[in-house]
């Protein structure tokens, strides 16, 4: 058992337990904090695979931005108390959903196993990345050369999202709908 | 035997004008303020029509652009001596349709203008395309503006009529789509690659046992027979024509029906030549029944629009008779008669619109005595009626005469039966004219009494259209030239 293996076991356990908490906690706030837990553990998993940039961005984007948004919204909508007045899904529905999900995961894992047998491309082996100056450098270079166009497009996407969000959450001046 | 090969060598390669211009006009119309929509539409339509005429006069041509070649879908377009007339008619009908005033210019005019130009775009794409798949897409796209028009500006029972129209047309085109896939599959199984080009499929159909194509033939037949319409498949026509706003009716009668005619000429005859010969008896009988049955229905109808819609069916029966005579002369005559029918029916519907603008009630059960009050209108109306009953001197006569001459050697009985349709046509068209125009004018009420005769612009349009009808009546060679070889 190496250290990284222990770390992997810990992170993955936290991730799975966290996500279970997300879906089974009654209060949205609790779910949200469980989600933060999951995000952190994912970040750890990225780091374990050497994807340091992603790991950092995971913390920054998800925990720093998205989660904050969630919490704000929860506060805004006063959803911090446990939800009791909702009729939950029926047991039958839950059963079907569960079975289907298990089936899905099985199928997907099976598919992934088939893919794992394929020969690696050997373009960016670990030592090659080291030679080129590390993961961050390689990704940045690719991003600003070959994929510059897509990168710029994402800025448009973000702009659109900003406009859309403002339009959606803006209070109508004259009454609005009902 | 008709063949459509060897046209790819022709010179004219600017065919995309026919589609780009209306599409551009369609998109631009969203930028024009509401008040200017009509002026914009008229100017645009005149421009488009003039451009179509110019492009057609530049000669025939064809072009093929690659698109999804691995599935056999190319953007193949061809302007030949059949399609060029339909393309010109599209421009003309579009102009007339946007010219008419009505509630479509009061309630959301942008959608109306955009739909009109979109219709022109789709129609031209259908008339020009040599690829079954692009043809199918264009053919279906024509529905969209029609459904918009009927749905937004139609009268009382518009929902039902739209539904009926859509259902029947869709039924037909689905059958056609399946048949198309079958043909493409046959091509693929023979050559190992996909193609939906008409030339390739004609080759396939020649090399295959005729029985295997029977069902595909009926798929195509059904689609176009509903569109034209031929008689057992005409159920949607009455409701659609009566409840649609006038521009949509003009589109349907003037040019949509020709889409079916065109489909028969360009797709059914070349691909399913053997099947057409095999079922020849049935085909001419259906055409003859269309002529007679629709004429009888027109005799008993009291609503002018209903009458005109049935008369359309009856006249298109003649067109189909020409096509089903399966001779090159018959096809040429059918094209001539299609042009003639478009001109006459568009003028008639236009005049009917002018009349209903001036007088609400036009029921054909008593004399309205409108002729003395609107003399110009009724002179034009009379000439249009004469064209519709195909009196010699109008292009309709030449078309009908040639159609019947070429179908007589093929099927004497059906030809004679169809000729009876000529008498019935006289009866209902003259009844129609007389009830509206003749008799003593009724005591005038309020708004009706101030209505004036048609204005100068209307008169010039009518002179243009009617002049065309008469000019072509003496010089049909303009159209027939392409078929004489």
């Amino acid at each position: 058992m190496t250290g990284s293996m222990i770390a992997f076991a810990a992170f993955s356990t936290i991730a799975i337990v966290g996500s279970l908490l997300v879906i089974f906690r009654r209060t949205p706030v609790a779910s949200a904090f469980a989600l933060v837990l999951v995000f952190f553990s994912f970040s750890g998993l990225y780091a374990l695979m050497g994807a340091h940039l992603i790991a950092a961005l995971q913390i920054l984007v998800y925990t720093g931005a998205i989660m904050v948004l969630f919490v704000f919204v929860i506060m805004l909508l006063n959803q911090d108390s446990p939800i009791t007045d909702i009729k939950e899904s029926s047991l039958l529905f839950k059963g079907i959903a569960g079975l289907a999900c298990v089936g899905m995961v099985t199928v997907l894992i099976n598919a992934a196993l088939r893919v794992s047998g394929l020969a690696p491309t050997n373009i960016y082996t670990d030592q090659k990345i080291e030679e080129l100056g590390g993961n961050l450098r390689v990704i940045s270079e690719l991003l600003f050369t070959d994929h510059l166009f897509q990168f710029e497009l994402t800025s448009f996407l973000l702009l659109g999202a900003i406009v859309a969000t403002i339009a959606l959450s803006k209070r109508q001046r004259k009454g609005g709908v009902s | 035997m008709l063949n459509f090969e060897n046209t790819m060598t022709l010179a004219n390669e600017s065919l995309n004008v026919f589609m780009v211009v209306p599409l551009a006009l369609c998109i631009l119309s969203f930028l024009i303020p509401k008040g200017l929509q009509r002026a914009y539409a008229i100017a645009g339509a005149i421009f488009f029509f003039a451009l179509s005429c110019y492009e057609v006069s530049q000669g025939l041509g064809g072009q093929t652009l690659p698109w999804l070649s691995q599935f056999g879908i190319q953007l193949g377009f061809r302007l030949d001596s059949v399609s060029k007339w339909f393309v010109v008619l599209t421009g003309l009908v579009t102009f007339i349709a946007v010219y008419l005033k009505g509630n479509w210019y009061r309630k959301s005019p942008r959608i109306f203008v955009a739909s009109s130009f979109f219709m022109a775009f789709a129609l031209n794409a259908a008339f020009l395309s040599t690829n079954l798949i692009t043809f199918y897409i264009a053919y279906e796209a024509v529905f969209v503006p029609i459904i918009f028009m009927v749905g937004i500006w139609g009268t009382q029972t518009k929902a039902a009529s739209v539904f009926k129209f859509f259902l029947m047309s869709f039924l037909g085109s689905i059958m056609m789509l399946v048949s198309m896939f079958y043909l493409i599959y046959l091509y693929q199984s023979q050559t190992g690659q996909y193609s939906a080009q008409i030339f390739d499929l004609v080759q396939v159909s020649k090399s295959i046992a005729p029985e295997r194509l029977c069902l595909a033939f009926f798929g195509f037949f059904l689609a176009f027979a509903i569109k034209v319409p031929l008689v057992p498949f005409h159920g949607w026509v009455r409701d659609a024509y009566v409840n649609a706003p006038m521009p949509a009716t003009i589109y349907m009668s003037g040019i949509l029906s020709k889409l079916g005619v065109f489909g028969f000429i360009r797709f059914v005859l070349p691909i399913f030549w053997d099947q057409a010969i095999q079922y020849h008896g049935i085909l001419v009988t259906v055409a003859a029944i269309s002529v007679l049955y629709a004429a009888l229905l027109a005799i008993q109808s009291k609503n002018p629009r209903e009458l005109l819609s049935y008369s359309s069916i009856s006249h298109l029966g003649f067109v189909m008779l020409g096509i089903f005579s399966l001779t090159s002369g018959g096809v040429g005559a059918a094209v001539l008669l299609s042009v003639a029918h478009t001109l006459a029916s568009v003028v008639l519907f236009m005049l009917l619109h002018f009349m209903s603008e001036r007088k609400e009630d036009l029921t054909l059960d008593r004399f309205h005595g409108l002729a003395p009050r609107f003399p110009m209108l009724f002179v034009a109306f009379f000439i249009a009626v004469l064209a519709s009953v195909s009196l010699p001197g109008t292009v309709n006569f030449v078309g009908e005469f040639l159609v019947l001459s070429f179908s007589y050697p093929v099927s004497a009985l059906c030809t004679v039966l169809s000729s009876i349709g000529v008498i019935l046509g006289t009866v209902y068209m003259f009844k129609f004219y007389q009830y509206l125009g003749f008799g003593s004018p009724n005591p005038k009420t309020g708004a009706e009494s101030v209505a004036k005769d048609i204005g100068v612009f209307e008169i010039s349009i009518l002179i243009f259209m009617l002049g065309l009808i008469i000019y072509l009546g003496f010089q049909p060679a303009v159209i027939l030239r392409g078929f004489s070889s």
Partner: protein, 103 residues
């Protein structure tokens, strides 16, 4: 097991989280929680990308994750905006209350 972390293990963890997220999406009726489940699923897919990228010794997967993150951020922003708008009109974020889809 030679002590090295196999990318395949990462994939399995990611897929389990994906399944949990999916299950949550199906059974929960609170829109906020449903959005969180979607985030879970997105994250697990990201993890898969990185793992496959590692497995095939490429960095394109990492690159994709960057884009997915951007999209996810945009998506959750818009999604939350929708939730707010919906709450404003319907006074609820419960999908049971939202049955105007029918007819």
């Amino acid at each position: 097991m030679n002590g090295e972390i196999q990318p395949m293990m990462m994939v399995v963890v990611a897929l389990i989280v994906f399944g949990i997220g999916l299950f949550g999406l199906l059974i929960r009726k609170n829109l906020l929680i449903m959005l969180m489940c979607i985030e879970l699923m997105l994250n697990s897919v990201n993890l898969c990308f990185v793992a496959f990228s590692k497995m095939h010794q490429s960095v394109l997967g990492d690159l994709t994750v960057l884009f997915v993150m951007t999209v996810a951020a945009a998506e959750s922003a818009v999604g939350l905006g929708l939730v707010i708008a919906m709450f404003r009109t319907l006074k609820s974020v419960d999908t049971d209350q939202i049955q105007i889809l029918r007819d």
